[in-house]
């Protein structure tokens, strides 16, 4: 049985997601941080696109929320972890919400499934009536 790797948080920064321009600011910040840490251009694009999907989900479904950008280290690996949280209505059927093409809004319904595909790790917790938290993680050159 593998020993669960402990994750050390090196830096952490919180961004409010209240309107469309905040999403653009956030993805720009993520790109900058990722390139500083030596992430490949492809992984930078994947991570910032996933972040864009999840941040837009906050605006569409949760109304407003926040995003936390963390630089993390685990053993010899470094990476970026992003936490998106809102106090929206929550997701009643998570399994259904994760299906590509399923949408309760006006979008394409690819946000959650797409973000999961683009990230190395994806974790979603949601309580109906309380809100939703999504965590994604991308290692540098994994």
């Amino acid at each position: 049985m593998p020993i669960p790797a402990t994750i050390e948080v090196l830096t952490s920064e919180t961004f409010a997601i209240l309107e469309g321009s905040h999403v653009i600011q956030l993805t720009g910040q993520i790109r900058q941080q990722a390139s500083q840490m030596g992430m490949s251009l492809l992984d930078q694009t994947k991570l910032s696109t996933a972040a864009s999907e999840l941040a837009r989900n906050i605006l569409v479904h949760g109304g407003e929320g926040k995003a936390q950008l963390e630089c993390i280290r685990s053993n010899s690996k470094i990476g970026i972890r992003l936490l998106f949280s809102d106090r929206g209505p929550g997701i009643a059927n998570v399994e259904q919400a994760m299906q590509p093409g399923f949408s309760t809004g006006i979008g394409m319904g690819l946000g959650l499934s797409g973000a999961k595909q683009l990230a190395d790790e994806f974790h979603l917790t949601s309580v109906v009536g309380e809100g939703t938290t999504v965590t994604i993680l991308k290692w540098v050159n994994d």
Partner: protein, 286 residues
């Protein structure tokens, strides 16, 4: 001796003005390039008049009092106009805080026999001017934000040009993030130009779009569909390698859209569709 703080200072208005002007003019950061000394004096006189017209001992401890609103309004106007004129926040802050020095200097002179009263009054005036300073700061930022907002509007307008690159071929280079409001402008401009020029092909170049997520893709697909309804063909060019891979991972289906890696290959495709041949001319014989 007059017990009222404001009552003591009011008759000394002219002396306070002199002290205040001296403080301002002595400051190394005085921007006489942005505002002449006469204008600065006129502005200071106006503000000081307003201060002594509205201020009483009671409102000195209540900067939010409704009777002070003319003063606050005037300060807000000064601060916002300074923001537009290009003053720094420090310069605008110093303008208000140098008044504090003038008031306290006058007060020290008037209350030299009663240190206890001087201390209480100093604290009060200091607190009052601090709250005026906060008002200045807030409105200064608001003034700057208006400038930013105006620039953003200007940018949305200039960032969506449609150019006719050949007879019957339009190109629209997109730069920056494609949000819903911009996507609407893009679509409108493009459709309008298609009608005006009677073009059969439009090339939408996304080389300058940093992130293509499902929302941007949806806007692009809508634009392509709308172009088709007008009887024209729309090609999306400028799809970089990392964007292509990201689109695939997201699960976006662009198979029914003609896409090209570069604007050049999109143009070549358009020439093919319109059956245009471009040849190098034979070398001219001398």
């Amino acid at each position: 001796m007059n017990d009222s703080t404001v009552g003591t200072l009011r008759p000394k208005k002219n002396q306070i003005l002199t002290l205040w002007m001296r403080n301002q003019l002595a400051d190394g950061s005085l921007r006489d390039d942005l505002m002449s000394n006469d204008d600065l004096r006129a502005q200071s006189v106006e503000l000081l008049d307003c201060l002594f017209d509205t201020l009483t001992d009671d409102t000195l401890t209540m900067p939010d009092a409704p009777s002070l609103s003319p003063l606050i309004d005037q300060l807000t106007n000064i601060s916002m106009s300074r923001a537009r004129q290009g003053f720094t926040p420090r310069e605008t802050g110093l303008y208000v805080f140098s008044l504090k020095d003038a008031l306290l200097e006058m007060l020290r002179h008037e209350r030299k026999d009663d240190p206890n009263l001087l201390l209480t009054e100093t604290m009060r005036i200091s607190k009052f001017i601090d709250s005026l300073g906060i008002v200045t700061f807030e409105s200064f930022i608001q003034g700057r934000e208006e400038v930013i907002l105006r620039q953003t509007d200007e940018m949305t307008e200039i960032a969506t040009p449609v150019v006719q690159i050949w007879d019957g071929i339009l190109a629209m280079p997109l730069i920056g993030t494609l949000d819903s409001s911009r996507a609407l402008v893009v679509m409108e401009n493009l459709l309008q130009e298609i009608v005006r020029t009677g073009s059969g092909i439009a090339i939408l170049d996304i080389s300058g779009v940093p992130t293509v997520d499902s929302m941007v893709a949806q806007h692009l697909i809508k634009t392509v569909n709308a172009t088709r309804l007008m009887g024209a063909e729309c090609i999306i060019s400028g799809i970089r390698a990392e964007i292509a891979q990201t689109i695939v991972h997201l699960g976006i289906d662009l198979s029914h859209v003609v896409t090209k890696a570069t604007m050049a290959s999109a143009l070549k495709h358009a020439f093919g569709t319109l059956r245009i041949e471009v040849n190098k001319s034979a070398a001219r014989s001398v």
